[in-house]
Subunit: 804 residues, 2 copies
């Protein structure tokens, strides 16, 4: 995607790009609504530099003298806003280059978002700009507004006034920008730079993040994204944002399959699996908002004043109903409302009417309305004064300041209000803990309200519902920022560990090559033989249930004696990943006779399953044609050789490697721990309890690899089935530290496969107190290209075993 040299989109270059002192509007005409908006936006932002219409045919546009071409400019402008049709844009870029213009916005649609040839055209466009040394925003975008630099090359309505402030914004959907600006103004949330991103042909969302991190005016970064195009760079930027103390808040579209479709239709890019995106954002400590309103209110809270960092909330209101709603919201967000300390309670009670209770959450009541006010301050204000000194609180949410639409005509009332606001501003400033102000419902802050709030340094969140969500977001961010931030944030940024699988002998689907085949370029995938996969785990310190691969009933009984009864038998075939589904598993075998019977049964079941597949004409068409079934009896007595990965050549022409004999485990809890590869984010670790927990409840926690044991303990804690691990229903509590360590090792084992990894799944991972063992393992990697054409059928079968 990146067609430009990094220098063209570096924070330094973008700082110039986003602060142009002169702008040409190419393709401007009196008929163009876009041109009209660009002129209006320039006025709205207080742009004072030259704003020059460029058009080959017109003489004046909106009363301004037109230049026929960029080449005709007396001196180069900083930025060309190109609203010419797509087919003319390339030529305009040439003109811009000739005129010494270094920045361009391309409005035209019809590129990547249309699919097909549009992508090539877009790449050509970006390459052309890069060739000219031009930094390009778009195409298919509407420009930007830099409120502090008073520059607004922006082709959509700008609600007035434009408020400058600490919130940087980047939007994948340009048409949302007006609505975002309208809501920001309604909530008195000032922006630093707001940019639409368009198709990100050159300047990407990540570039803008890097620019906003470097931008002194920006304290928080709010994004609307339809995809995360380059997760590794995004992760690096997120880490830097964290280091800079600038939270990132993302409204990520496509949280639903339908949403993904809409995102696809709009931008032509496939949104990643949302659960993976959610896990990645969480690991990167990127806040995820669920609406534009939540996005901006969270940005406002984090951008202005001090955001809460702990969960103990004091609440000061003048309404019992507000207390109720705040308490309900707090419970949803996991925010506590502890009792006030006795001295706080006493101080508050002294100012309350006798029928009111000095409890947290506090309803100070409207009793101050009963008598003439002798002070600007109300009982709620005195309560706030006391609450901020309470040693048991991390912050106070205060919903007591109601602003009239306009300055009261009654001068005394106005003076009282403004004196009170001034006191509040000072008390919030001097408070030892953060004070979050919120209105009761989400209504606009009027011009007068903005003046009063801004005049006293107060930011007021828009309604209890959004306020409590924003607070929950802010606290979560602070908590994760307080954790070992580097390791957490680096997670998605880190490449998969270099391939270490070469140290583990492994055969891929066929028995003819003991050499590891890690050719990532291979088109197909293949499932490993289980004994190979077991050795991979063991090599990384993952405890594996004692077991041996047997090739005959005698071999199985001999293995069982070495392992110790009871044992379990499973047909071993790379082509049958789900053995229990086909009757290929026998459990709880206690005698040699039982093992013999079971051996024949599971092997026959496996053969039948493969034969069924052949009959069905599936991808394993050619497997099992040899029809040798159980008759491949050689090598019966060299189970040890099996474990060393030798002595099995030529035995699996029916697609069955043999039968895995393992120690039988019962009781305890069965987990699933698996690594798959997300097309965008790379290896993803999934941890869950087995059985219904995965199949019916989809109760799985995800993380982008690598993750360490502390994060894995957190994953285990997120599971709905977590109480079972802690000993619910009479189970032995699992040794969670040991379990997290084992799962971390599974992650490392997966990473050792490098780019060939497709799936490494342990299911079940058995836990009984501090006993932890992988009972069954499935490894799938990109298929080895072999020289033996006869094995292509097995390779196809193996591909079928890919669980992704």
């Amino acid at each position: 995607m990146r067609a430009a040299e990094p220098a063209l989109v570096s924070p330094e270059r973008l700082a110039e790009f986003f602060a142009p002192r002169s702008i040409a509007v190419v393709g401007a005409s009196d008929a163009s609504g876009w041109a009209r908006f660009v002129l209006a936006a320039a006025a709205a932002t207080g742009f004072t530099g030259p704003l020059i219409p460029v058009h080959p045919a017109h003489r004046t546009v909106f009363g301004r003298t037109v230049v026929r071409s960029l080449r005709a400019l007396a001196e180069p402008v900083d930025l060309a806003f190109i609203m010419a049709p797509a087919q003319a844009v390339g030529e305009v870029l040439d003109d811009a280059a000739a005129a010494g213009v270094r920045g361009a916005i391309v409005l035209a649609s019809g590129y990547r978002e249309t699919g097909g040839g549009g992508l090539a055209e877009e790449e050509a466009l970006a390459a052309r700009a890069a060739g000219h040394g031009i930094t390009l925003l778009g195409p298919n975008c509407l420009g930007f507004i830099n409120a502090h630099a008073r520059a607004g090359p922006f082709a959509l309505t700008v609600p007035l006034p434009v408020l400058a402030g600490p919130v940087g914004v980047a939007l994948a959907s340009g048409a949302l920008a007006s609505a975002v600006l309208a809501f920001a103004r309604a909530r008195a949330i000032g922006i630093s730079t707001l940019t639409t991103l368009g198709n990100e042909a050159m300047i990407t969302a990540t570039d803008v993040i890097e620019y906003l991190i470097a931008d002194d005016r920006t304290r928080v970064i709010c994004l609307f994204l339809e995809q995360i195009t380059d997760p590794a760079r995004f992760a690096c930027a997120a880490e830097r944002a964290g280091q800079a103390g600038k939270p990132i808040v993302v409204l990520k579209a496509g949280s639903s399959p339908a949403g993904s479709r809409a995102a696809l239709a709009h931008t032509g890019s496939v949104a990643g699996d949302d659960a993976v995106v959610a896990a990645a954002l969480r690991q990167l400590n990127v806040i995820r908002a669920a609406s534009v309103e939540e996005l901006l209110c969270t940005g406002g809270l984090l951008g202005y004043g001090r955001a809460p960092r702990g969960r103990r909330m004091g609440v000061v209101t003048t309404s019992g109903g507000a207390c109720d709603l705040i308490a309900d919201g707090a419970a949803r967000e996991g925010i506590e409302i502890p009792e006030f300390a006795p001295q706080t309670e006493a101080a508050i009670a002294a100012r309350l009417p006798p029928f009111a209770q000095a409890r947290n959450p506090l309803d100070a009541t409207g009793y101050f309305l009963a008598n003439r006010r002798t002070s600007a301050l109300t009982a709620a204000d005195h309560a706030l004064d006391a609450a901020v000194a309470d040693p048991g609180l991390d912050f106070v949410l205060c919903s007591s300041l109601v602003l009239p639409d306009a300055r009261p005509a009654d001068e005394h009332a106005a003076a009282v209000l403004e004196e009170r606001a001034a006191w509040l501003g000072r008390r919030i400033e001097s408070s030892p803990i953060p004070v979050v102000m919120a209105s009761t419902t989400c209504v606009d802050v009027t011009e007068y309200g903005r003046a009063v709030l801004a005049g006293h340094g107060i930011h007021q969140l828009g309604g209890i519902d959004l306020a409590v969500r924003a607070i929950g977001n802010a606290i979560g961010w602070a908590e994760r920022a307080g954790q070992d931030p580097r390791s957490a944030r680096r997670a998605a940024a880190a490449p998969a560990a270099p391939a270490r699988a070469a140290t583990v002998a492994r055969r891929c689907g066929d028995g003819d090559s003991d050499e590891p085949s890690l050719r990532a370029e291979s088109a197909g995938t293949c499932a490993w033989r289980e004994d190979d996969a077991r050795r991979l785990l063991a090599a990384h310190g993952v405890p594996v249930v004692p077991g041996e691969l047997a090739s005959s009933a005698d071999g199985a009984t001999a293995a069982a004696i070495r392992i110790g009864y009871p044992v379990a038998l499973r047909v071993a075939s790379a082509a049958i990943p789900h053995r229990s589904d086909v009757g290929g598993v026998a459990l709880g075998l206690r005698t040699a006779a039982q093992v013999r019977v079971a051996y024949r049964r599971v092997r026959a079941a496996g053969a039948a399953a493969l034969a069924d597949r052949d009959g069905a004409g599936g991808p394993g068409d050619r497997a099992g044609q040899n029809g040798q079934g159980d008759r491949n009896g050689q090598g019966d007595r060299n189970g040890r050789n099996d474990r060393n990965g030798r002595g099995d050549r030529g035995r699996r022409a029916d697609g069955i490697d043999g039968v895995m004999v393992t120690k039988m485990r019962s009781g305890g809890i069965e987990l699933l721990a698996g690594v798959t590869v997300d097309p965008a984010f790379g290896p993803v670790l999934a941890v869950g309890l087995g059985g219904i927990w995965v199949e019916v409840l989809a109760d799985v926690s995800l993380r982008i690899l690598p993750v360490g044991p502390p994060e894995i303990r957190e994953m285990l804690g997120e599971l709905r089935g977590a109480p079972l691990l802690r000993g619910a229903r009479g189970a032995r509590p699992a040794d969670l530290d040991a379990l997290a360590d084992v799962i971390a090792r599974i992650g490392v084992a997966a990473a050792s496969l490098g780019g060939t990894l497709r799936t490494l799944e342990i299911n079940p991972l058995w836990v009984d107190g501090d006993q932890i063992e992988a009972l069954d393992v499935l490894a799938v990697t990109t298929a080895a290209q072999t020289a033996n054409p006869d094995l292509s059928g097995a390779a196809a079968l193996a591909q079928n075993g890919d669980k992704q």
Copy 2:
């Protein structure tokens, strides 16, 4: 609670009460903020009648001549707004009565909400008003606003202007009223009557609902409630609202434990268990909102125009981002966004720019801005025109109309906008399916916006997030309203069925009385003997697993032979409801020898459990003192007598009734079906899968009884574990119709116990395809008062067995 005759709060009387033509403000003074607000609210609502300050000491108040007492009024006013302190209110009521005043609002706090003596004072207040024939709102309230009647005796800020409209509002928290009015104005949502409820000493929320149902100006009823004080009356009102086609939307505080505390502090009433409230509201087809904003937006959607009634949504926007957000929200709400029909797609495509796609959800793009507009209508408008005719859609959500803050100075632009709005209004009116208009974010509708929208009959929801929630609420309401509404709505209204348990012989904890004891007044509760509980179920047609109560090892083996092996044994004791926890259960017994061993083991385990309890000094202190343990061997051979409830006298001095021998069931799925009694809503049916589903996942569906099989099928479908019933993980799919029928019978069996019911729990209720059986049952009723003091220990133990 109801101190008044119904006539004082009838809809007819309240129609007068809420439309006063003359108002006295008692206790008004220049110093009173409340009085100032009442005067301002009168002006705001356009009140033209007499508004007379009444005060014993002042001569004028805010320039108006003061009357010294209500008795001094020349003629009676319709309403007295009493803002005198609590201790003076009673006398003012006497004055009011003497003056012929029939309505009063009491503002004073210090009644029920303070606990203690406040409740008695409040009851005395209500009784005094009732004695005078005065209808009373409050105390601890702030009055009301009737926008259509232009009356606003309301003691808090009124954001101007007051908009008259179809939304009736009642608020348990008076101080929320200003915020509610502010948000309603911001969203251009007009109200009919908005009233604060205060402590509901006489006029209750339900009375207001009945009034609003009868009020022609009201189309939808929005409530903020901290409790549902009289569920039966509330249910009747909800049913009537449904019949009248007026949806009720409730914001119910106390959805969290912390919220319950806040509600308690505020109103002095205990909120019911929220899950039960949620179930009841659902059954009554009352919409539940999660915020004030959602409450009012849902009210606005249902109050204005036509609300969606089906789930197939067409989407017309001018922004891909809006499409994404709508799609994500729709997925959350279970709303579908199907493909457009081919003819719709063709009609839309004809008006779109070439790079845009005519797909649902539609981004019509801002391309119309490229050229001079030749028509007021945009591509989005033409798309709407086509979409409303699509046969595959139930409604269209349209987010394409952006209103400027004020009328554009450019007359042409203003004319184009207004022509477009007029067309939209007409097209929405003529559309065969509902069209829901929404802004992109939740910002205020300005005065100009209100004029444009109201002028063309358009209601616009506030932002995509709230709009989609409101639509989801409306569709859910319509769907439930379309179901057999009477049975559903009557559910919570219906009293428990009359006690029919008298037809089933039953003994309560002791063996000395075969007479049913249904004295509901009894303080304690007692758990039934299992064989009694089994007979109760059988009498109501609930299939019960074959079983017999045995009193000796011989008796158990004899029973096992009659029942057929394999069998299960469970120690039978009303004092041990959780038998498996104490080792009192033996499963899968296949021989007489196994039964004998198991009999002794489970009986000993039961005895040990009871002894442990004694040792622990629990409520069963005196039980088991006889220490007879297993030695009570008489009656061994009359298992049949056991089943008939005789022949067991004197055998259970150790607290153990014997050992229940039942047919062993395995495979299948184990459910829990139980009835408990909610203090507010009465008998509540809980249905869930057994084991982890209840214990770890709390995966239970609730309904207030009675419910019929169709509703129970819905309950089963709501369970997270529902896929197991449908055959996931290889289980036989359950016969859901048969299962629902059995569970309905369990509900009837519970109802048959009338007021004595405390718990009737079948756990497990075993299901294997169409085989359904109660394997174990626990019945707890209010304890019988017996004349035998020696049994009090057993009664206490039985009380301990109460699972509630």
